[in-house]
């Protein structure tokens, strides 16, 4: 197991370094941060001086060398816009995103497993058809549309929930509900498919021959076997939440890393972009590791 983790870590490190190098150079091709930081009326000297101040005038390779040197010592540089260490800015935002993703994915997983399993148990039945239509529609509604409708309905018209922001538990409900829809639609389908396979398997026959009740047959015998492909998809969906809950974060004024990343990209705040990518990529790597551990936990055949 340890050697597996080591191997994975090395592989991911290579990917991560490749990613950072790529982002470093590509992002610097997309224009001059000075022009964005300073107003359009700022003089050429001011812009020049701004670039000087932030070392943007040096040749790209020099900048890169300096960046690598700093990163090695654990310094990810300072945000151009915020005059704060980039890593601090990112971790602060990341905590929010992480919670949002963790809570949403837990709810999605639980709900999708129940709905998908029941749909599979009576596949072709009314509940199955209903759940598949709902999940399909859910997966094809634009999230910003849903977010605004939710605010209009639940916050303005019904005044049940706060419109946006953070603070109380109530503030989390709408963003989570909006983020919930798409992964739920996708995972329900995967659970259903996988469960249909598991429920028609030979060991389920054995369990029935033993006289095991329907509940344990679905949720103990079949589910654990059906979870393997499901976990992969859960991982993919969680990764996309960690990376890109941008729209929902923007609309609900949620101070997460997705919004931070898009803002930094648009403002060409390179250090923050790089730090954000580093942090999210690390998080995704850790999550993939967890998923592999979950595989091993669920299926003894994978354990060695």
């Amino acid at each position: 197991m340890l050697s597996f983790i080591r191997k994975r870590s090395v592989a991911s490190l290579i990917s991560l370094v490749g990613l950072l190098v790529l982002v470093f150079f590509l992002s610097r091709l997309t224009g001059d941060p000075a022009a964005l930081f300073l107003p359009v009326e700022a003089s050429a000297e001011m812009k020049q001086q701004f670039r000087e101040l932030h070392g943007l005038n040096d040749p790209l390779m020099v900048q890169f060398g300096r960046y690598v040197g700093d990163v090695v010592t654990g310094d990810l540089g300072e945000s151009l816009r915020k005059a704060r260490p980039a890593l601090g800015v990112v971790t602060e935002a990341f905590v929010w995103t992480l919670w949002l993703a963790v809570i949403t994915m837990s709810l999605v997983t639980a709900a999708a497993i129940v709905v998908g399993s029941l749909a599979a148990f009576r596949s072709g039945g009314f509940f199955d058809r209903l759940s598949s239509i709902i999940s399909l529609v859910g997966a094809s509604v634009p999230d910003f549309w849903l977010a605004i409708v939710a605010i209009v309905v639940f916050s303005v018209n019904l005044a049940w929930l706060p419109t946006s922001g953070t603070g109380s538990i109530l503030h989390w409900i709408l963003p989570i509900a909006v983020l919930f829809v798409r992964p739920f639609g996708i995972i329900v389908q995967v659970v259903r498919g996988s469960m249909i396979g598991a429920l028609s398997s030979a060991y389920v026959k054995t369990a029935r021959a033993k006289g095991v009740k329907a509940g344990p047959i679905i949720f103990i015998h079949a589910l654990r076997n059906a979870m393997l492909p499901v976990i992969t998809v859960i991982g993919d969906q969680a990764a996309s939440l960690l990376n890109g809950a941008v729209v929902v974060e923007t609309i609900f004024g949620f101070p997460g890393v997705g919004k931070l990343m898009i803002d930094s990209i648009l403002q060409r705040d390179f250090n923050v972009v790089l730090a954000a990518i580093l942090v999210t990529a690390l998080a995704i790597f850790l999550m993939n590791l967890l998923i592999d551990l979950a595989y091993a936990l669920l299926d003894p055949r994978i354990r060695h």
Binding site: G31, P39, E41, E92, S155, T163, S164, I251, G253, L266
Partner: protein, 498 residues
């Protein structure tokens, strides 16, 4: 004497509703302040929070009346023989860290703005001049400018005063002399300002202000409606449906089409005039542009010194436009060359619809126009010099903001040969700008008027469109009227609580 009157007026206006309550309020803004650096307060997302709330300036422009430049931390000022300005400072003023305000703080603040150890944006207003500050005594300071600056007192309304101890590098906890001090800042979530008990002026009614940030305009409107915020200075025209809470105000933003006179066919004045005649400006008002917006004849709003009431908006005259184009064509101008119309996504409300409409109106009279939307960085590369070599004819749709009351903050950048966003070079324009900048009083206003008329009628420098209107949603529990400066400054002391 004059200043005494003014002080009284300010005090009076603040004290008038003596029966009124006091308490905290919440304000929701579109864009978070990424910094709270006083020398960046001229940037609207920062200035709205700290300008005159936390960090004060020596002078202040009256945006509610027509009183021009008024005292704030300077009680009075005068121009001396050699053209430099002497400011007499207010006494008994304390910074929120407890130190006393004096001339050394003013000098440090100014030097800090001009330093090359940081990227203070206020510096841009002092481009092309050399200014030195000399402390005369703790309550008096001289500013010597070369060339002489007739509008130096106005410029001083842009320099925020920080204590002498402030480092040159950007800071995150602003210290100022204003009625409020920073109480709490949770990045990404909120900024809280609390009223100071030891403020030198009148005690404002708002005891604490919490700033929240939401980029979606309908969410901002919904928040005031749902009682989660008391004030949203800018909401969308579409959401401004309730006359009891929603107020429109002429903001300082002017939308225009910057023409690049260097490239065919836009180098021909007939073509530029045809372009202006082809746009049905009036049809936009009340549809894509809110009622209350004003058709522009200059790049500065009508409240600006030297704005010329005699310049008339181009009429909508498609036939005339076609005729002019035909003439130009006959004279060998390649009027068929496709022109690229560059606009910035989300630059102002309805930008896509307005640009699509402009495009279709121009096509109507025979222009070939390709519309291209770009994000901010790319827009900037089209808008500002150096322009790309080998470019085709380009129109840049842009928005300009001048709430400062004087055209000098506009004219040089947009029209002088050396101006960074100037699309042409005209010696007469250069000369007028130079002379107007150096002039004072009525002479100054006259020269600006002359320039505005010349640009509009003779050069046909650009396609001026609208002075825009903004919408605020104000909770019924507070008393607030937005002004032309609301985009860049939001003085909490002007807000009353019912």
């Amino acid at each position: 004497m004059k200043k005494m009157l003014m002080t009284a007026l300010i005090l009076g206006s603040a004290l008038a509703p003596a029966y009124a309550g006091s308490g905290p309020i919440k304000i929701v803004l579109p864009e978070e302040a990424d910094l709270l650096e006083p020398c960046m307060a001229t940037r609207s997302n920062i200035g709205r929070i700290i300008m005159e709330n936390v960090s004060e300036t020596l002078t202040e422009l009256d945006v509610r009346g027509k009183k021009g430049v008024m005292p704030r931390l300077a009680e009075k000022w005068e121009q001396t023989q050699d053209g430099s300005w002497r400011f007499h400072l207010r006494q008994g003023v304390k910074f929120s860290n407890g130190t006393t305000f004096d001339a050394k703080d003013v000098k440090h603040s100014f030097d800090r703005v001009m330093s090359d150890k940081n990227a203070c944006e206020s510096r841009r207003y002092f481009g092309g001049m050399k200014i030195s500050a000399n402390v005369v005594d703790p309550n008096t300071i001289d500013f010597k400018a070369d060339p002489a600056q007739p509008i130096l007192p106005l410029l001083m309304s842009l320099v925020t005063i920080v204590p002498e101890e402030t480092p040159l590098a950007f800071i995150r906890e602003p210290i100022g002399t204003g009625p409020y001090a920073l109480k709490n800042w949770t990045p990404g979530q909120q900024i809280v300002l609390a009223a100071r008990s030891d403020y030198w002026g009148a005690k404002p009614q708002v005891t604490e202000a919490t700033y929240l940030f939401r980029s979606d305009p309908s969410v901002r409107a919904a928040m005031v409606k749902a009682g989660e915020a008391d004030l949203s200075p800018s909401i969308s025209q579409l959401d401004a449906t309730d006359p009891k809470t929603d107020f429109s105000y002429l903001d300082s933003e002017t939308v225009y089409l910057r023409l690049d006179h260097n490239i065919q066919p836009l180098n021909d004045v007939r073509v530029r005039r045809a372009l202006n005649l082809a746009i049905d400006r009036q049809a936009f008002i009340g549809t894509l542009v809110p009622d209350g917006a004003v058709l522009a004849t200059a790049l500065v709003p009508p409240t600006t010194q030297g704005w010329n009431p005699n310049v008339k908006v181009f009429p909508y005259d498609p036939a005339g436009a076609k005729k002019l184009l035909a003439e130009a064509k006959a004279a060998g101008v390649k009027v068929d060359t496709p022109i690229t119309l560059i606009a910035r996504t989300a630059n102002f409300p309805n930008v896509t619809e307005i640009m699509e409409a402009v495009q279709s109106q121009l096509q109507e009279v025979g222009f070939k126009v390709d519309l291209k939307f770009v994000e901010v960085a790319e827009h900037e590369s089209y808008y500002s010099k150096p322009f790309k070599e080998g470019r085709g004819p380009i129109i840049v749709a842009a928005m300009h903001d001048n709430s400062k009351g004087d055209p000098s903050f506009t004219m040089f950048f947009k029209y002088a040969s050396q101006g960074t966003q100037s699309g042409f070079s005209d010696p007469k324009v250069d000369d007028l700008i130079k002379r107007a900048s150096a002039a004072v009083g009525d002479e100054r206003a006259k020269l600006w008027s002359q320039l505005i008329a010349y640009l509009h009628d003779d050069v046909v420098a650009d396609g001026l469109l609208f002075h825009m209107v903004g919408f605020s949603r104000v909770s019924p529990r507070i008393d607030f009227k937005p002004t032309i400066a609301t985009n860049s400054m939001l003085q909490l002391s002007e807000i009353g609580i019912k």
